[in-house]
């Protein structure tokens, strides 16, 4: 099957930047277009099919923020990168939180880094453009809609409101507030202090993580309102929270560094596809869980393959894209089951490999059956042995201060 040549559009008001990009992309494996203003770019998009735009942020007349926002609304299929000379960390965060850009790259840039990010985005897009998914989506009667509290908070973040105002909005909904507190008090944030108010939680978590928590809680609430078993939804929410904690914990143990901020909510969101199934395609979800109940040695991926031809990973990635989450998180959703053979950066591979371990440990803590397989390849990649895993789990449980009654037995592989 011939693969369509992908097209990338670069927009920057500095002609020298455009020229240098043109030169460096001369031998690129995708086709390229270069324009010097957002208005020209919008004209071009009316006529031509583009897969990805890479835009400067500060430009005269129409800036990149507005431009990418229009692209996001009018051409949701097009991936959006910012390539900016800004030195203001806040700009980057706001841009990613609001989903204006899915990926934020800074000037000066490295050619290989820029190309690598583009390559991954195009591969991700290729994976998302799946006819079978379109078929599956046509069966969905009710696409998950996030509750109004979520949008109120987003609006407040956009207009640069402070933590106090955000906290006020969240506190209007008691269950929302309780769950935000719960997540922020998890051991993984290592602030050494208990969070005692939503406002404090927001300050500690940062708005990016806050947003992920809100989405997660929102989805969970949707499920509880729906007809599916609320217990199962709670179970999956607990799993997501555990994986997030474990990911922080193991990453720190293995690398001696804190998990990069891009991935702070990777654990919370990695199984978004399963939430979606539960919510929007309950029949399929039931078929899969029935299979799992009947055979405790079967794992989710095996059961899922028997029931449907689009995996939950793809559904999750699709959802995160629809909700304007960053490319890095879309990658996590899409590739977390087989990170080492994915078209992603080395950093993403490492995070997702660790996440496989976190995923396994979380299921071990929650129950005994249907534990997913972690391949030897992943153990080798992380330079880990079975006994290391035992130690990690023990250490993790020790940080929980009696939060878990007993140490679950490790299933020998």
């Amino acid at each position: 099957m011939p693969i369509r040549v992908r097209k990338v559009l670069f927009v920057d008001d500095d002609p020298q930047v455009i020229k240098s990009l043109k030169r460096s992309m001369l031998d690129a494996e995708f086709s390229t277009v270069f324009l010097e203003s957002a208005t020209e770019a919008l004209e071009f998009l009316k006529e031509s099919k583009v897969d990805l735009v890479v835009s400067d942020m500060l430009m005269p007349k129409m800036d990149g923020y507005k431009f990418l926002d229009i692209v996001s609304n009018n051409y949701p299929d097009i991936m959006r990168f910012a390539l900016s000379a800004t030195t203001n960390e806040e700009n980057v965060k706001i841009c990613l939180v609001m989903g204006v850009a899915e990926n934020f790259l800074v000037k000066p840039w490295k050619e290989e880094d820029l190309r690598g990010n583009i390559r991954t985005a195009l591969a991700l897009k290729e994976d998302l453009e799946d006819n079978r998914m379109a078929d599956l989506m046509s069966n969905v009667k009710r696409f998950p809609v996030l509750p109004s509290t979520y949008y109120d908070v987003m609006k407040a973040i956009r207009s640069n409101q402070n933590a106090k105002t955000l906290a006020d909005i969240i506190e209007k909904d008691a269950t929302f507030a309780a769950d935000v507190m719960k997540v922020s008090n998890s051991a993984f944030y290592f602030h050494g202090k208990e969070t005692t108010s939503v406002q404090m939680a927001i300050v500690f978590l940062g708005i990016r993580t806050l947003r992920s928590i809100l989405v997660n809680i929102s989805v969970y609430k949707l499920l509880q309102m729906g007809s599916t078993s609320p217990l199962e939804a709670r179970f999956l929410w607990d799993h997501s929270a555990y994986v997030n904690e474990l990911l922080f914990f193991i990453y720190k143990k293995l690398t001696n560094h804190t998990l990069p901020e891009n991935y702070h909510s990777a654990g919370l969101l990695h199984d978004m596809g399963k939430f979606f199934l539960m919510n929007a395609l309950p029949d399929k979800y039931k078929q899969i869980t029935d299979k799992l109940k009947n055979d405790e040695n079967m794992n989710w991926v095996q059961a899922e393959n028997m029931v449907m031809d689009v995996p939950h990973t793809k559904l999750g990635s699709f959802l995160l894209r629809t909700w304007n989450f960053s490319q890095k998180l879309q990658e996590v959703c899409m590739y977390h089951h087989d990170p080492l053979n994915s078209p992603v950066s080395d950093e993403a591979k490492r995070v997702m490999a660790i996440m496989k371990i976190a995923d396994m440990l979380s299921w071990i803590m929650l129950k005994d059956a249907n534990i997913p397989d972690v391949s030897d390849e992943v153990f080798e990649y992380l330079n880990l042995s079975q006994s290391d895993i035992q130690m990690l789990l023990k250490d993790f449980i020790n940080t929980k201060k009696g939060g878990i009654a007993q140490i679950p037995k490790i299933i020998s592989r």
Binding site: D14, Q16, V17, K19, S20, L21, R23, S24, L26, D27, L58, M59, P60, K61, D63, A85, T86, T87, N88, V106, K107, P108, W109, K110, E111
Partner: protein, 313 residues
């Protein structure tokens, strides 16, 4: 007699004590005055550093663009050099088959194919431009850094020297570029003016304060029209004059009356200290015996005029 003497002595003693007390008071006042002077110049210095700090993000932004394209060009050049070397080697290789014209022809053909594949024609045609563009980038970078160095001159902030204020205006425009370039165009009319004896660091601070205020006035408008900042210098018989004007909104009368007062600001909380124009006033009027005033009327530019005497010192 004795008692009279005694009385006089006592009187003298009393006055002496009074004088001593007064001298003490005077000393105290002198000390206090020195303190005020010191803290005053500290405030000036602090405001200058704060304004440079505020500009830092903008300056870094201005630098990142040229650094970005120069480093990208450099990477391209690295890649292209390898490609060119490879083709040269291939041509050298041809000479080995000098006795086999058929094979040579074949090889020649494949080299031409490879050249096409690596866009060699474009690479060679573009070579001069690539170097030229990168040189422009380096010039852009050094211009910003030179201006920043001239502008800051922190060590001789108070020192007076012979200086052409046109240089100061040019440097200030370079380092403040990121603050105005998205909202305003600059129109410069810098005349032939004599050097004057002044403190360049201080005058640059005044120019910066006025130019940034103008940029902010123009950016606050809700229109897509670009504004203008006009800068003019000229010499009169005894003075030099610098006019900095903008076509932004008119300044209200009530604001005009207070705008040179310390801590007066119309900016949002946190956006301005309210010290800028009072510092500008102090530098021009008190430190340089010059004059600064503002005019703002409907359908006319808002104009700051600074006059400085040619024979300062």
């Amino acid at each position: 007699m004795n008692t009279k003497d005694e009385k006089y002595k006592q009187e003298i003693k009393k006055y002496q004590n009074k004088i001593l007390a007064l001298e003490k008071e005077l000393k105290k006042l002198q000390y206090l005055n020195e303190d005020v002077d010191a803290s005053h110049s500290q405030i000036l210095h602090r405001d200058k550093m704060a304004s440079i700090g505020q500009l830092a993000a903008g300056i870094a932004h201005e630098l990142n663009n040229p650094v970005g394209f120069v480093s990208s060009n450099f990477e391209t050049l690295e890649k292209n050099a390898k490609k060119i070397a490879k083709i040269i080697n291939n041509y050298r290789h041809l000479s080995e088959f000098i006795d086999d014209p058929e094979r040579q022809k074949q090889l020649f053909h494949s080299i031409t194919e490879e050249e096409k594949k690596m866009h060699l024609d474009f690479i060679l045609d573009d070579l001069d431009e690539l170097f030229g563009d990168s040189r422009k980038g380096f010039d852009q970078i050094s211009k910003i850094i030179t201006s920043l160095r001239n502008f800051s001159r922190i060590d001789d902030f108070d020192e007076k020297t012979l200086y052409n204020i046109n240089d100061g205006l040019n440097d200030t425009l370079v380092i403040a570029k990121n603050e105005y370039k998205y909202h305003a165009d600059i129109e410069k009319d810098l005349g032939d003016i004599p050097l004057i004896f002044c403190s360049p660091g201080m005058l640059n601070q005044v120019f910066l304060i006025i130019i940034i205020n103008a940029a902010q006035a123009l950016s606050n408008r809700d229109s897509d029209i670009r504004g203008h900042i006009r800068i003019k210098t000229y010499a009169t018989e005894k003075d030099i004059v610098c006019e900095i004007s903008n076509d932004g909104p008119v300044i209200e009368k009530s604001v005009m009356a207070k705008m040179f007062d310390p801590f007066f600001t119309t900016k949002e909380t946190g956006k301005g200290t309210g010290l800028g124009l009072s510092i500008a006033y102090d530098i021009i009027v008190n430190k340089h015996s010059g004059n600064i005033y503002v005019e703002s009327e409907p359908s006319k530019d808002t104009k700051f005029t600074i006059t400085l005497s040619q024979d300062l010192g």
